[in-house]
């Protein structure tokens, strides 16, 4: 590997010149190239980029404010929703409570109604029984009266024709019997004797 010895550029030309020797045309072109590019960057690109950066920062800040607002709105909505939920829950509780109360009162009402009905039924039954008993007593009294008078007239031989008198005697007798002034006499043995 033999490289040509260094010689002045004028002798052999640029191919074999010292590589540290700048070529004049290249220097000029380099300066022009740098100048054009620097002009483009300093006048056009960098100011616009910086403006865009500021705009973006503003946009991001605006976006952040917007996001905060949205967050606040969301929080408010959540609170509202929670409140509504609690409200609905208490309402449901109230409804349930009132329904329970209502049910209980209905049950109680029904019960009392049934009770009163029952008592009314028993009462009417009792009354009926009483009336029937009364009727039976009255009937019995009449029959006993007529029977005893006829029996007595047969025995006594005395006709007790007067209805009023007859009735009065029987009534008086029965009243006396009830009050205990007269102990009922045993009829049967006498009857048996006869």
């Amino acid at each position: 590997m033999v490289l040509a010895p260094v010689k002045a550029a004028e002798d052999v030309g640029w191919p074999e010149a010292l590589p540290l020797l700048p070529h004049p045309a290249e220097i000029v072109i380099g300066i022009i190239a740098f100048g054009i590019l620097y002009w483009i960057f300093s006048r056009k690109v960098v100011p616009r980029m910086e403006a865009m950066y500021e705009e973006r920062a503003a946009a991001i800040e605006g976006g952040m404010a917007q996001a905060e607002q949205a967050q606040a709105e969301a929080r408010a909505a959540l609170e509202k929703y929670n409140a509504q939920l609690a409200e609905a829950r208490t309402e449901a509780n109230e409804i349930r409570e009132s329904a329970r109360e209502q049910g209980a009162s209905i049950v109680a009402e029904m019960r009392s109604q049934a009770q009163s009905e029952a008592s009314r039924i028993t009462e009417s039954a009792q009354r009926q029984v009483e009336a029937e008993r009364q009727q039976a007593v009255v009937q019995l009294r009449q029959e006993v009266g007529s029977l005893s008078t006829s029996l007595a007239s047969k025995i006594v031989g005395e006709s007790l024709e007067d209805e009023v008198r007859q009735k009065g005697i029987v009534d008086r007798f029965l009243a006396e019997l009830e009050t205990g002034e007269v102990t009922p006499e045993k009829v049967a043995p006498a009857g048996r004797e006869t």
């Binding site: 074999e16 045309a25 960057f41 690109v45 865009m52």
Partner: protein, 276 residues
């Protein structure tokens, strides 16, 4: 005036030499590639110069198109532009120079970064495959601009030439150390910094491209002119390794664009800062 796809001296020297004395390794002359003009003229339009002009057109149109219709919600193209812009603005300019003073230097750093990155990537882009920064003229131009900028800023911020020179020496040093320190700092600020800034970019691009040339031309030579199967297989290996190194070059190219811009920002921040 000749318009040539392959440089004329390759055709004259390279191929005939290859026939006679075997493989002609790629060298510095591989980086000379005139499009219009002669080999000796100082005003030849070279291929890297053409690539640089094309890159200005492409980068300029891209960013102008994006900046013309910027939206708060970025499109896909705007996102790409914003990535580059945000990287230079935030990671390089703001973090290094400081949030207070970085604004006026963003266009400068942005220009440096996009121009260097685009031209570096041209080194492995198919059909172009020439890193224009491997021609020393372009790194020198960029470095000169940075050099002028940071010294101007330093002179303005530190109240004239005397104040600026005084600020080179860090405070709180013993008297006998001050001249030595001043000499070292002066050397650093005025000679070493621009020299290394330009040569780092140039050297990395030159070496990287030369390495790719060696692997690919060498592999091709071994494959085509190899005398036996083993040599030809090693030629294929060389070509494959060339492809691997191409991806490594992509990393280096990005890193060099980043380091150039970062160091420019660093030098500017030194000039801007009040202390030191």
């Amino acid at each position: 005036m000749s318009l040539s796809v392959v440089p004329a001296h390759w055709l004259q020297g390279g191929l005939s030499a290859a026939d006679e004395e075997g493989f002609q390794a790629p060298g510095i002359e591989s980086f000379w590639w005139p499009l219009i003009g002669s080999d000796t003229s100082n005003w030849t339009l070279t291929r890297p110069a053409f690539v640089v002009m094309a890159s200005v057109v492409i980068i300029g149109f891209f960013f102008l198109a994006v900046a013309g219709k910027l939206t708060v919600v970025p499109s896909k193209r705007q996102w790409v532009a914003e990535q580059a812009y945000g990287f230079v603005r935030n990671t390089i300019a703001r973090d290094v120079i400081g949030a207070k003073d970085f604004r006026p230097f963003v266009p400068l750093l942005m220009t440096l970064f996009t121009l260097i990155l685009f031209n570096n990537v041209m080194g492995i882009l198919p059909f172009v495959q020439f890193p224009s920064m491997s021609r020393i003229a372009f790194p020198i131009v960029l470095t000169l601009i940075v050099y002028v900028v940071y010294h101007t800023v330093g002179l303005r911020r530190k109240h004239g030439v005397v104040g600026y020179l005084k600020s080179l020496v860090p405070p709180g040093l013993p008297v006998w150390l001050r001249p030595i320190m001043f000499f070292l700092e002066f050397l650093t600020y005025f000679i070493i910094r621009p020299l290394t800034l330009a040569l780092r970019l140039f050297g990395n691009m030159l070496a990287g491209h030369l390495m790719l040339l060696v692997f690919i031309l060498g592999g091709e030579y071994l494959l085509v002119h190899g005398s036996n199967l083993f040599v030809q297989a090693s030629g294929i290996l060389g070509l494959a390794f060339g492809i691997v190194m191409t991806f490594f070059e992509l990393l280096v190219q990005f890193l060099q664009a980043f380091i150039f811009t970062l160091l420019s920002a660093l030098y500017i921040s030194d000039a801007v800062s009040e202390e030191h």
